[in-house]
């Protein structure tokens, strides 16, 4: 497996606050990699830095060999890196369908593809199909999350970065979403970088995982090993 994403010595600041302190990690083609860590550890910041929403102060981010650190977010999307941000951020005043259409903005010339991808998303999330014409802003929290993921899939990303996709979802939907993530990974070969608080679900899905603490990576291992690790269990998984 070749490395699709290679992050080296990434440091990111919000003004004077340093949120990411020299992080190194890689994601290989076809993998699901989980990024775990407490609130405020810097997980979202890492994703934001990769997708170009914030510029890193230091370090490099290579996606398929190309450096992303100086690229605009839209260019990064065009290269195949799509970020589903924390808090869903669907376009509230637009309909479900319009949200999805915008998801394929970079493929705007290909009408057939658009229709095909719409079908795919509606199949994956029948609940959205029922609500094609509803304003996204009035969807329930879970519905919005589905829409956010669906929107990202519309551009057929090579690397999909999901920031807490299970947040606020009913357990049954979480199970569904996790299945869907797996399905996206297996059937479409999409590489996935997954940030999750629901560590157990994430690690069951992932091939490998990283644990982040206050801006630095403190652990890196296969998902199976992490699931078995004492510290991880105590902090992130809990014992029943």
């Amino acid at each position: 497996m070749s490395t699709i994403l290679d992050v080296k010595r990434m440091e990111t600041f919000y003004g004077k606050i340093q949120a990411v302190r020299g992080v190194d990690f890689t994601v290989k083609q076809g993998e699901i990699v989980a990024l775990l860590g407490a609130n405020g550890a810097g997980k979202s910041t890492i994703l934001k830095t990769i997708s170009g929403l914030i510029r890193p102060a230091q370090g490099s981010i290579a996606f398929m060999g190309e450096d992303l650190t100086k690229k605009e977010p839209h260019t990064i999307v065009e290269m195949g890196v799509v970020h589903v941000p924390e808090g869903r951020r669907v376009f509230g005043g637009l309909t479900v369908t319009e949200n999805l259409e915008l998801g394929s903005f970079i493929k705007k010339k290909d009408k057939a593809k658009l229709a095909q991808n719409l079908d795919m998303v509606f199949q994956m999330f029948p609940r959205l199909a029922e609500r094609r014409k509803q304003m996204a802003g009035t969807l329930s929290g879970g519905e919005q999350q589905m829409l956010a993921i669906g929107r990202a899939l519309m551009s057929e990303p090579k690397l999909l970065m999901l920031d807490e996709p299970s947040m606020g979802l009913a357990p049954i939907v979480v199970i569904d979403i996790m299945k869907i993530i797996k399905q996206i990974n297996q059937q479409r070969g999409t590489t996935i970088l997954l940030v999750e608080q629901n560590a157990k679900a994430a690690l069951k899905l992932a091939h490998r995982g990283y644990v982040l603490e206050t801006g630095s990576i403190t652990m890196e291992d296969s998902a199976a090993n992490l699931l078995a690790d004492d510290n991880v269990v105590k902090a992130y998984l809990g014992v029943h």
Partner: protein, 304 residues
């Protein structure tokens, strides 16, 4: 003196209202689009209407020189609209873009600043006197139900309608239009679906300024003269029109423009010219009290 509404007067007044309303609507569109996308009350927008007229005038004065040339007129329109469109983009680039992330009202200041700059630059360059259009629209026409209607009036209404329909199509049917609406809602999320946000904002300014210039040129050629202050009052009226329709809403801007034209006409007719603005604003306030988001503006329900 008794005034009773006869058919001829009614038709005549309706045409008057439509003409003025078209100008308002075309400017209101730019107001509304810019407001919609970056929540800026672009005070300089009315001045672009004026600049458009001046660009067109200059082209006509330099190029055609003599006689009434329809071709020259067409050329002047096209150049005025494009040049003003680029000027609008340039203003966005210089004065607004650096402030897109700053507190919302600070960008209002640069907008006021740009308005002063445009108005006073034209005055410095052209002087304070009014200019006479070298080519004016023909005044022949026909009579309809006793009212006198010129071909130029029909032309203005039709041309405005075409522009507005084209814009409507652009915003609601094309992906760029949807991108504009998406940016209006959430810039970050828009960039995450691959929209080049700065480019689309630029495009919005181009389109808005382009339409404004069209209105400016039509206005100058219809009335035959132009001055460097003509943008102010139109800007204010267009802003009003945009809000009547529901600011940020394209169809609303058109409707608002036409409605303001009608309101002013009724106001003049019923209450006299000195009260017509009071009448129009009064109706506006009543309307907003009854329907707080304007005629077509929709309330975006925020979820708790």
């Amino acid at each position: 003196m008794e005034f009773h509404l006869t058919t001829d007067i009614f038709v005549q007044q309706l045409i008057n209202a439509l003409i003025v309303g078209s100008f308002y609507a075309l400017i209101a569109l730019g107001y509304s689009m810019v407001y919609g996308i970056i929540k800026l009350l672009n005070f300089a927008h009315g001045d672009l209407f004026m600049v458009g007229a001046f660009v067109g005038y200059t082209v006509l004065a330099k190029l055609t020189g003599t006689g009434e040339s329809l071709l020259g007129m067409g050329l002047a329109f096209v150049i005025a609209m494009i040049v003003t469109g680029f000027l609008g983009m340039g203003i966005e680039r210089i004065a607004y873009r650096p402030l897109l992330k700053a507190p919302r009202l600070s960008i209002l200041i640069t907008a006021v600043g740009m308005s002063l700059v445009l108005e006073n630059a034209i005055m410095a360059g052209y002087g304070a006197k009014p200019y006479i259009m070298p080519v004016t629209l023909p005044t022949d026409g026909f009579s309809l139900l006793g009212a006198k209607i010129t071909y130029a009036q029909i032309g203005i209404i039709v041309f405005s309608a075409i522009l507005m329909i084209a814009l409507q199509w652009f915003v609601h049917r094309t992906i760029y239009g949807k991108a504009m609406r998406a940016i209006a809602i959430d810039q970050t999320a828009s960039s995450l679906v691959g929209i080049n946000v700065t480019k689309v904002i630029s495009l919005t300014f181009f389109v808005g300024s382009f339409l404004s210039a069209a209105a400016g040129m039509m206005n100058a050629s219809y009335y035959g003269s132009l001055t460097f202050t003509m943008g102010f009052i139109f800007g204010m009226k267009a802003f009003t029109a945009a809000v009547i329709g529901g600011i940020g809403n394209i169809r609303g801007a058109m409707l608002g423009g036409l409605m303001l034209g009608v309101l002013e006409t009724i106001g003049t007719y019923q209450f006299g010219g000195e009260w017509k603005d009071v009448f129009a604003f009064f109706i506006l306030i009543v309307l907003l009290v009854v329907k707080p988001t304007g005629l077509l503006g929709q309330k975006v329900t925020e979820r708790m």
